[in-house]
Symmetry: C2
Subunit: 366 residues, 2 copies
């Protein structure tokens, strides 16, 4: 298949850039003495997970159980499900997943959750690895740091069918803070209670093997934390405009990782000299950010969403207007929800399609 034969809209992965990103993160975690368990919610693609592990990652984090089911079915080990698994339907599925993936790790943030998992694992005659999920200020999931976390950890330790592995804390509120110095200050402050909780547990005689957290935005901040054992960064492998724009340790762009993911579109209408319409809209790009996609190496055009299935390109100089049929690539505003729109990813090298990878966990938010 040639690039011109790719049905648009379609996500393209620049393999050279992607591989460079895997190497850069691997070198960083190695140098800082951490482990890397990258978040698979970014890509939902077992082939990417496989390559992340080949590059040194110890497994992948899955946002949801269904994502972990897909990864396990594809032979990916070292799975951590970062959202609490609640209710009979899901706990039942987790027990079935444990048969195939005995090392899968779940998280808990509530005593009822501990009881539910402990009872199910006991009934299934399995032992389930568990992290206590601690809220580090994101006001999402996670128990209060300190004594509440200690009480939960004790409940896990006391349950014979559960195996306490450690702590999770995700400071999502810090991931996109610009510039880097402010992000560093915010993240170190947010993560401090997680590390204090670790010390509290250890003082209480509970061994803490894993402390998992971090994001692409704070990867070189979290790696400073002595008590954190592993990073959960996801977006670094493909990047997006959102992360690019938060800035790096130097400069107002985060260029430590390369923009490896684009969406290929086709100009399907040129209704006016200053306007071209491409075949990608709300169903082709993530729409959760306050900005839209940006054309790659295609100066003179500005993208605006034009509904579910179209994008409007404003053309600054009609002499440079894209002709009907021109194929234009865009950097997506946000990588995760963009990947989640597609069934396959076109892995490109030197402008050619090297492979087509299934995004098998696409839509697996259950």
């Amino acid at each position: 298949m040639t690039r011109d034969e790719i049905p648009t809209p379609a996500p393209l992965l620049d393999l050279d850039r992607f591989e460079k990103n895997l190497r850069a993160m691997a070198a960083h975690v190695a140098a800082s003495g951490k482990r890397l368990r990258p978040h698979a919610k970014t890509h939902k693609c077992p082939e990417i997970a496989r390559r992340q592990i080949a590059a040194g990652a110890i497994g992948v984090v899955c946002a949801k159980l269904a994502e972990a089911e897909v990864m396990a079915a594809a032979g990916i080990d070292g799975l951590l499900v970062s959202t609490e698994i609640v209710g009979e339907e899901k706990v039942g599925r987790l027990m079935r997943l444990l048969e195939r993936a005995p090392d899968v790790i779940a998280v808990v943030d509530h005593a009822d959750g501990v009881r539910q998992l402990a009872a199910a694992a006991a009934a299934a005659r399995r032992r389930l690895g568990v992290l206590v999920d601690v809220d580090v200020g994101g006001r999402r999931t996670g128990c209060v740091p300190g004594d509440a976390a200690l009480a939960l950890a004790r409940a896990v330790v006391a349950a014979p069918a559960l195996r306490f592995r450690g702590l999770q804390g995700y400071a999502g509120q810090c991931a996109h803070v610009p510039p880097w110095t402010a992000r560093r200050e915010a993240s170190l402050k947010a993560m401090a209670p997680l590390l204090e909780t670790r010390r509290l547990l250890e003082a209480g005689g509970i061994a803490v093997e894993i402390v998992s957290g971090g994001s692409t935005g704070t990867y070189n901040i979290d790696s400073e934390l002595p008590g954190l054992t592993e990073l959960q960064c996801g977006s670094y492998c493909v990047m997006d405009l959102d992360y690019l724009r938060i800035g790096g340790r130097q400069g107002d762009r985060l260029t430590d990782f390369e923009m490896a993911l684009t969406v290929l579109t086709t100009v399907v209408s040129v209704p006016a000299p200053d306007l071209a319409i491409v075949d990608g809209g709300f169903k082709a790009f993530a729409t959760d950010r306050p900005f839209g996609p940006e054309a790659v190496e295609r100066p003179g055009v500005t993208y605006e969403f034009a509904g579910d299935e179209h994008g409007r390109l404003f053309v600054r100089d009609p002499a440079q207007a894209p002709p009907l049929g021109e194929r234009i690539e865009f950097f997506p505003p946000h990588c995760d929800p963009t990947m989640n729109l597609y069934d396959r990813l076109y892995a490109m090298r030197g402008g050619r399609v090297e492979s087509v990878w299934e995004i098998s966990a696409r839509g697996k938010s259950q």
Copy 2:
């Protein structure tokens, strides 16, 4: 399967409401002497298309070729692809689709498009039905009304492998204008050039069999237009908050159609007395509108997006806080991109799962 066994997040269709919507629209188009070719981009679901046709629709509109391929494979007739089909890859696929669905209709808005389709259809020894797509002010696809449309229509008529069927004009810019009286004024004004173009073609001796357009927001406005033959409304069958809020002919809510689509979520964390976290975020709901989902019959909670996989529920009265595991339904902000996130739709009657329908054209934006 019971409601409690549905893996969340998941889209639910209230069948009583859905069927009422189909009947209401069927009665309206019958009374106004129009035809209905509803837009399948809303639902992407062949079973819904089948039921729309059983309720009197003459077929369905597909936003993209890939959507039409899925509908044709499911045995749905009367397909109109409302976006221009451009480039070798897509035109080739259209020719293959014609073998299975000889009555499929394509749209054109450019002389190059006419040439491309004419050459391909001639080479394939097929005759392709074509509408000329006219821009009625939406600044999306479509040629300029009047002489430009006449010239294109003549080019279609002159091509032996094409069959000129008529005109398409979609005034998307009017679909959401509140209140109804302002919407009516805007839509009648926008659509006037389409009807003038029809008269121009007929004066030039070109028979215009089809004039297709309209939206759920303007369904009872476009049906006043004497020259329009069919309505393309999509959202009416399931509805969403966006259309609800534009108001109807009476009142500040569009209640002519019922809110039949919801997304079922589960409370996976209750980290604080005033906070509950559900398992649906950017990957569970459309994010293209400036507002989020709204809980159904669950007073006292307000939803806020909390990332890709979570929603934050602010609880007004902690005494009414949802317990861990509570299943809460939400009306989506926008139906089309919400449906496009899921592989199956749970068709509910009286709180029970009556059927599970495949959303087979999910992601088919190519």
